[in-house]
């Protein structure tokens, strides 16, 4: 048993950290946020040049053949520097679906994605599905040309920049799931974009009888469920890792600050009540990190309880990240409630992440139902399938 990263993984982490530390300063990040473009195309290109966009794809697809642990490393670094570029949407979600669904309509897309020429989005959430797994009203009816899509997807991150949008829909309005490839230019696709509080952009997508050819159906039925489940699991780990990165920065900054700031004639770091609070921040981060690494290893190995571990990892990362961010703001005082410091921006990012792919409570619910636990007390509330 060991929790060590390989030498290769350590080298990758160090180089990613150095690159983002030098080129993606907080000032640079804020200028990107305030710019009209949804993210920095130049940064995206630089990341493509570094090979980051090839990371999770197999060598046969032209990628680097990395595994979920490499993804975890990357997202820790992205979280650390508050990177707003759409790695989750393009690499993990759209890329994750595309690489699992090799149909004719996806040919060439992965290559373009890895070169930095293609953006993706994952249109899954609906107004009725607060918890990611609720009722799905978007429908796909068979039509002479293939399928006709109808419905509305909400808070689709990176929707406006996306060249390909993966849409989930019920086939024929029944319980069978279908995953479709939709282009923003397809007739009947409506986009309403808006900024998100974490400096990024999302949008609502309306599908007004969008006609797509049969080969745009990427997967259906049990296959589609498995793809969705796997991509969902990876997203949970990527988000957890991103929050671990945030925690790292928040703890480092807080320690630095309490060593500089003086009140009542002493450095803040000399007050026991503040020291203990920082200890709790450190402990919370290490617990979340340990669970995230274990969950990533389970996912890599295809363990039967991998999905359960992913839910646990996200729940723990959510809670730890909140604890750390709240304490960081409290110990910094008023200055951390302003736009000028990175501290508060980490809380905004964490606030968004906590609700993505199921809230903390949804993860706990999933964890419980995946557990087959015999410890739970009986309840009449129906289990979410």
């Amino acid at each position: 048993m060991n929790f060590d990263f390989t030498e290769e993984q350590r080298v990758f982490r160090d180089s990613a950290r150095r690159f983002l530390h030098d080129s993606y300063t907080f000032e640079k990040r804020q200028s990107i946020v305030h710019d009209d473009a949804p993210f920095c195309a130049e940064t995206w290109r630089a990341c493509a040049d570094l090979g980051w966009l090839c990371l999770p794809f197999s060598e046969q697809h032209g990628g680097l053949g990395g595994d979920i642990l490499d993804t975890v490393i990357l997202f820790e670094e992205l979280g650390r520097q508050l990177v707003i570029e759409p790695f989750l949407e393009t690499l993990i979600l759209a890329g994750g679906v595309l690489r699992r669904c090799p149909v004719a309509s996806t040919e060439g897309l992965l290559g373009a994605l890895m070169e930095g020429q293609l953006q993706g989005a994952f249109a899954h959430g609906e107004i009725s599905q607060r918890n990611f797994n609720g009722v799905r009203y978007a429908r796909a009816e068979e039509s002479p040309q293939g399928f006709r899509l109808r419905g509305k997807k909400v808070v689709v991150h990176n929707a406006l920049a996306a060249d390909v949008i993966i849409v989930s829909a019920s086939l024929g309005g029944g319980s069978e799931l279908g995953l479709f490839l939709v282009r923003p230019g397809d007739t009947g696709v409506g986009l309403h974009g808006y900024p998100t509080i974490d400096g990024r952009a999302a949008g609502d997508i309306t599908l007004n009888d969008v006609e797509v050819p049969t080969n745009r159906l990427l997967a259906r039925g049990p296959t589609a469920e498995i793809v969705l489940e796997q991509v969902h699991g990876e997203a949970l780990l990527a988000l957890s890792a991103d929050m671990i990165g945030s925690m790292d920065t928040l703890i480092d900054r807080t320690i630095e600050y309490t060593k500089e700031r003086r009140q009542f004639g002493s450095r803040l770091v000399d007050f026991q009540v503040l020291r203990h609070r920082m200890v709790d921040m450190f402990v919370a981060k290490e617990l979340a990190t340990s669970l995230c690494y274990a969950a990533a290893t389970k996912a890599r190995d295809g363990a039967t309880d991998a999905r359960r571990f992913a839910a646990a990892a996200k729940a723990k990362a959510d809670k730890s990240a909140k604890l750390v961010a709240h304490a960081a703001i409290q110990l910094h005082g008023g200055i951390a409630t302003t736009d000028e410091l990175a501290i508060g921006h980490h809380l905004k990012r964490i606030t968004v992440h906590e609700q993505r792919f199921g809230s903390t409570q949804d993860q706990l619910k999933a964890f419980r139902h995946l557990a087959g636990s015999d410890t739970a007390l009986p309840s009449s509330i129906k289990k979410v399938a």
Binding site: M1, R275, D301, F309, A371, T375, A376, S380
Partner: protein, 408 residues
């Protein structure tokens, strides 16, 4: 990164399981399962110690010439987890786990030859004399004096929270041999026979009406100078050295897992009772949903603790020294186990009120009022409040972690 056990580790686990199957009898398992504190029934602990000695698995980390066995931290963790799951009694740590390593490092050859075999055989039962009525968290302020008179030390003062002093024949003490210096620099480590003239032991009754703790009084107690371990005034260093032996033996997860097993038993009993009354209207299901949510939260925390312990025992760097990580795990483990206790209270419901101390005796075979798994819940909860006090309080642990985290 590999979080599953290697085939060698799995083989070792099978060996441990086989040994536990063959050597645990109902009396021992009762002692392991009917605990309401961190200790099992004293006699059962000694029987279990003897069984492990015969197997050669008692003195983990001791050299072979003294009957020791060398296990990796992961093997130690496997042994602990399997032992807890099988319901083995707890071992008394004072001789084998605490004094043994100290004698091996600081003892004279004569001390090692004489005392180490007697620890393993159970001939000597040691207790630990550290805390004093005026020195708890601030241990270095301890005042029990040891004055040199010829070839002897003369001891005056008292020790408190001395677990099982009333069942032991020897005590290792931290004593004050110099008051003119920095407090830590004037402490010595001394071995004392509890039957020496001038020693009296007062049992302390805990909130569960049982006695595990004692106060020990020393009045002009004469101890040969040859009972000094290490050099005079080296006691603080020796006490700190011992802390390192916590490393590799993290077992909070195993104990918490056992709490969950007990909780599972309890909720099963309730579920069975509920279903046998099917059709009877109940007060509604909302409380159960709250319970189940809380349970899931604690299970996630248990999983995180397990992963953290494994990450530490497997030696993966968290960029902090071992002593700091031992404190991290102590804080997390004890605070989580207290939260699990609180959920157990919710499951046991009205039965927490029932006082039936006799059922905790491992040889008790009579009936139990209410679900058997509910019987120990209240006292486990109450006694476990001590978990964040003993062995360095949660606040002292946070001080230790802070020193590493904030100054290095």
């Amino acid at each position: 990164m590999e979080i599953s056990y290697t085939s060698e580790e799995l083989e070792f686990r099978d060996q441990v399981r086989g040994f536990l199957r063959e050597n645990l009898n109902p009396f021992l398992v009762n002692a392991g399962m009917r605990m309401t504190s961190i200790f099992s029934d004293f006699d059962a602990s000694l029987l279990w110690q003897e069984a492990l000695r015969r197997k050669g698995w008692l003195a983990v980390g001791w050299p072979e010439e003294f009957g020791g066995v060398s296990w990796t931290p992961t093997q130690q963790a496997i042994f602990t987890e399997e032992s807890r799951q099988a319901g083995a009694p707890m071992l008394l740590p004072f001789g084998v786990q605490m004094l043994g390593p100290i004698l091996l490092k600081y003892g004279t050859e004569a001390q090692k030859q004489e005392l180490l075999p007697r620890i393993l055989s159970g001939e000597d039962l040691w207790c630990q004399g550290y805390s004093e009525p005026g020195s708890g968290s601030d241990l270095a302020s301890l005042r029990m004096r040891a004055e040199t008179v010829g070839d002897t030390y003369v001891l005056n003062g008292s020790k408190i929270w001395t677990s099982f002093a009333h069942r032991s024949n020897k005590i290792f003490c931290l004593v004050r041999t110099d008051s003119a210096c920095k407090p830590q620099a004037g402490i010595s480590f001394l071995l004392v026979d509890l039957d020496s003239p001038g020693i009296s032991v007062r049992p302390i009754v805990s909130l569960d009406d049982e006695v595990e703790q004692c106060e020990v009084f020393f009045e002009n107690v004469e101890v040969p100078r040859s009972n000094l371990v290490g050099r005079e005034n080296q006691g603080w260093e020796i006490a700190k050295y011992l802390l390192q032996f916590e490393r590799g033996a993290y077992c909070y997860y195993a104990a918490i897992d056992k709490q969950f097993a007990r909780l599972a038993q309890l909720t099963r009993t309730i579920s069975d009772a509920t279903s046998s009354h099917a059709g009877v209207p109940t007060a509604g299901d909302a409380p159960d949903d709250v319970f189940n949510h809380r349970l899931a939260e604690l299970e996630v925390d248990k999983l995180a603790l397990q992963c953290l312990e494994r990450r530490i025992t497997s030696g993966s760097a968290i960029n902090q020294p071992a002593l700091c990580l031992a404190s991290v795990v102590k804080v997390v483990g004890t605070e989580l186990s207290q939260r699990v206790d609180e959920l157990c209270l919710q499951a046991a419901g009205p039965y927490v009120a029932v006082k039936q101390n006799e059922v905790f005796d491992p040889s008790y075979e009579g009936s139990v009022i209410g679900p058997e798994s509910a019987a120990s819940v209240a006292y486990s909860y109450i006694n476990n409040r001590a978990a964040t006090i003993y062995g360095g309080s949660a606040q002292i642990q946070r001080n230790i972690i802070a020193d590493y985290l904030l100054e290095v």
